[in-house]
């Protein structure tokens, strides 16, 4: 593995008017890493994502991406540096077709004055086609994203995030609302991305986490509780106490 980390969080704290959503979180991700972030509801997982992409600004601490601080950058510039995020509730653009969603995401030169042409560059078109295939929505090409089924929306959004060619993908609950079959498909999809991108996945469905089998970080009450492989985490008593016990019942 490359020694230089892709993303580094240094003592990040987020304080919402006295409520500490994150306390002193430090985290490091290598390029092409697959990292899974778990934790009970309200543990601060989504806030962590929000903080990385600049939707929430840390009260203290800093975030480095490729050794550059990004804490103060505008959101779109953070994306342009190479971080893209999928939201928890699918964030597709409902009145655009599936293809248009991907094309909007695949735009390489994002200058607005270049938008006054009817057709995107061939390279972007090809890339979009390729991703369409990857996410398995080729036959839904012209469908309006708003009328896709829930699972299809999740895949489309993953596709959109991939289309930006970001080096780091943040996937917030990509399997929310999916059945076991779709969950497995999503896991396969994500595993196929690793190698080309670093991926940070947030979820609490343990069967999905096990299917991914990545290095896992457990967040609890805004703090990092444990880090380790899935089997280490499974064996950990503290994790069991705050989280897994409950999750097991959920799965059962």
């Amino acid at each position: 593995m490359n020694t230089a980390p892709l993303l580094t969080l240094e003592n990040v704290t987020v304080d919402f008017d006295g409520f500490k959503a994150l306390t002193d979180v430090s985290l490091s991700l290598a390029p092409q890493d697959l990292r899974v972030l778990i934790g009970p509801n309200g543990a601060g997982k989504s806030t962590l994502c929000d903080t990385i992409i600049g939707r929430v600004r840390p009260t203290s601490g800093r975030i480095l991406f490729k050794n550059q601080p990004i804490t103060a950058l505008p959101e779109q510039d953070i994306v342009r540096r190479g971080i893209c995020r999928k939201f928890q509730t699918p964030g597709v653009l409902p009145s655009l077709s599936v293809m248009e969603n991907l094309l909007v995401s695949a735009r390489k030169n994002r200058a607005w004055w270049l938008a006054f042409s009817s057709s995107p560059p061939a390279a972007e078109q090809e890339r979009a086609e390729e991703i369409l295939e990857t996410i398995g929505l080729t036959d839904r090409r012209e469908t309006l994203a708003g009328s896709l089924a829930h699972g299809e929306k999740q895949w489309l959004e993953i596709g959109m995030v991939v289309a930006t060619d970001a080096e780091l993908l943040l996937l917030d609950e990509p399997t929310a609302g999916m059945g076991p079959q779709d969950t497995q498909r999503t896991a396969d999809l994500i595993l196929s991305l690793v190698g080309r991108h670093a991926v940070l996945v947030i979820d609490h469905d343990m069967s999905f986490v096990e299917a991914l089998n990545g290095y896992t970080t457990v967040l609890h009450q805004g703090q990092i509780l444990r880090e380790g492989t899935v089997s280490e985490i499974r064996a950990d008593a503290a994790v069991e106490a705050v989280y897994l016990g409950r999750a097991k019942e959920d799965v059962a």
């Binding site: 992409i53 939707r55 505008p74 959101e75 779109q76 994306v79 342009r80 893209c84 995020r85 939201f87 509730t89 964030g91 597709v92 653009l93 409902p94 009145s95 655009l96 248009e100 094309l103 909007v104 995401s105 735009r107 994002r110 607005w112 004055w113 938008a115 006054f116 042409s117 009817s118 995107p120 309006l144 708003g146 009328s147 959109m160 930006t164």
Partner: protein
């Protein structure tokens, strides 16, 4: 030939032949309503496609109207002699204010008809959008803008003609604009500009700009977190709408022979939105049809049953937005509208 092109050609032919088909009074009505429809096209662009509701389009309408009216007011005056428009004389002004001088040039005026509203719309929308003020906030701020603009026009009587506005025009660039023939020419210019704007917007909405604008309407945050800056798309759309309104205002001034604060304030501005809501906010021809329909209806109903008209207008608005968000055009087409009934809480929370 496809039926669509047939209808297009028929409409264009009828529109172009109107001066010889209908009475001069009806032509003047049609002309001023077509001028209104330029405003409606702008609202369709910002509100329908961009999700930006402006309750202050009257401001840009007024800027365009006044820019032309200032020239019309100066026409025939000998400025070197110290001549002034009549209202300035009895408002106690001793010399023509400096900013009026350039408007003596008709071509400068024409440029200002588009540029002044354009620049103002760009500056205003940039200031507001860059702080991510949108949605309901933006609607309310534009409404306050309409109120402030109308108030300012009325109170700066010495420079603007005040509540009376500017009226009594006779020539533009040396041409008589009051004759029967001039009325036809003005109508045809209006008609041409509406047609040109229609095809321009049709092209624009077909480009990637159109896609980005709709994308921004659907999910501004999603667009931002895909690495795009939504700001320029919104500002450009709003600026274009402002320019269209300005053009509409200038043409209206020519048709009506008057521009006054009563045409630019809060209520006229919101009525402009009614036209588009009724016609269809996502379809270009819907915006034009809505404008003509509502205005002809107003002309018919308001004299016969003035109190009924207000009930009708209010009811029309409630019905259109509640039950027919696609407007009349929505009955004929399946426009690409946002999925209205889907709660999008994360957007609302912004």
């Amino acid at each position: 030939m496809k039926p669509a092109s047939l209808i297009t050609i028929l409409t264009l032919a009828l529109g172009a032949a109107a001066p010889w088909l209908i009475s001069s009074y009806e032509l003047s009505l049609l002309g001023r309503f077509l001028a209104f429809s330029l405003v409606a096209l702008g609202i369709m662009l910002t509100w329908g496609e961009g999700g930006i509701l402006s309750l202050g389009q009257g401001v840009f309408f007024g800027l365009g109207g006044y820019a032309l009216a200032m020239n019309l007011k100066l026409a025939g005056l000998n400025l070197a002699n110290g001549d002034m428009p009549d209202f300035m004389q009895w408002s106690g002004v001793s010399a023509l204010p400096g900013f009026w001088y350039p408007f003596a040039n008709p071509w400068f005026s024409l440029v200002c008809v588009v540029l002044v509203p354009g620049i103002f719309a760009a500056a205003f929308s940039w200031l507001v959008f860059r702080r991510r003020i949108g949605g309901v906030y933006f609607a309310l701020i534009t409404q306050a803008l309409a109120l402030a603009f109308a108030t300012l026009l009325v109170s700066e009587q010495a420079f603007t003609g005040g509540f009376n506005g500017l009226t009594d025009f006779s020539t533009f660039a040396g041409h008589d604009i009051t004759s029967q023939g001039a009325a036809r020419v003005i109508y045809l210019i209006t008609f041409l500009l509406v047609v040109a704007s229609y095809f321009f917007l049709r092209w624009l909405l077909g480009t990637r700009f159109g896609t980005m604008l709709r994308a921004t309407r659907d999910g501004e945050n999603r667009v931002r977190f895909l690495g795009h800056n939504p700001l320029p798309y919104k500002v450009v759309a709003f600026t274009l709408a402002g320019m269209l309104s300005g053009m509409g205002g200038a043409l209206f001034t020519l048709h009506a022979g008057v521009i006054s604060p009563a045409l630019v304030g809060v209520v006229p501005s919101i009525e402009m939105v009614v036209w588009v809501a009724v016609g269809g906010r996502n379809v270009l021809w819907g915006a034009i049809a809505g404008t003509l329909l509502v205005n002809f209806a107003k002309d018919e109903i308001s004299s016969a049953l003035p109190s009924l008209w207000l009930y009708a207008l209010g009811g029309l608005f409630i019905l259109a937005v509640s039950f027919l968000p696609g407007g009349i055009a929505g009955l004929f087409t399946t426009p690409r509208m946002p999925r209205f009934f889907q709660r999008r809480r994360q957007e609302a929370a912004e």
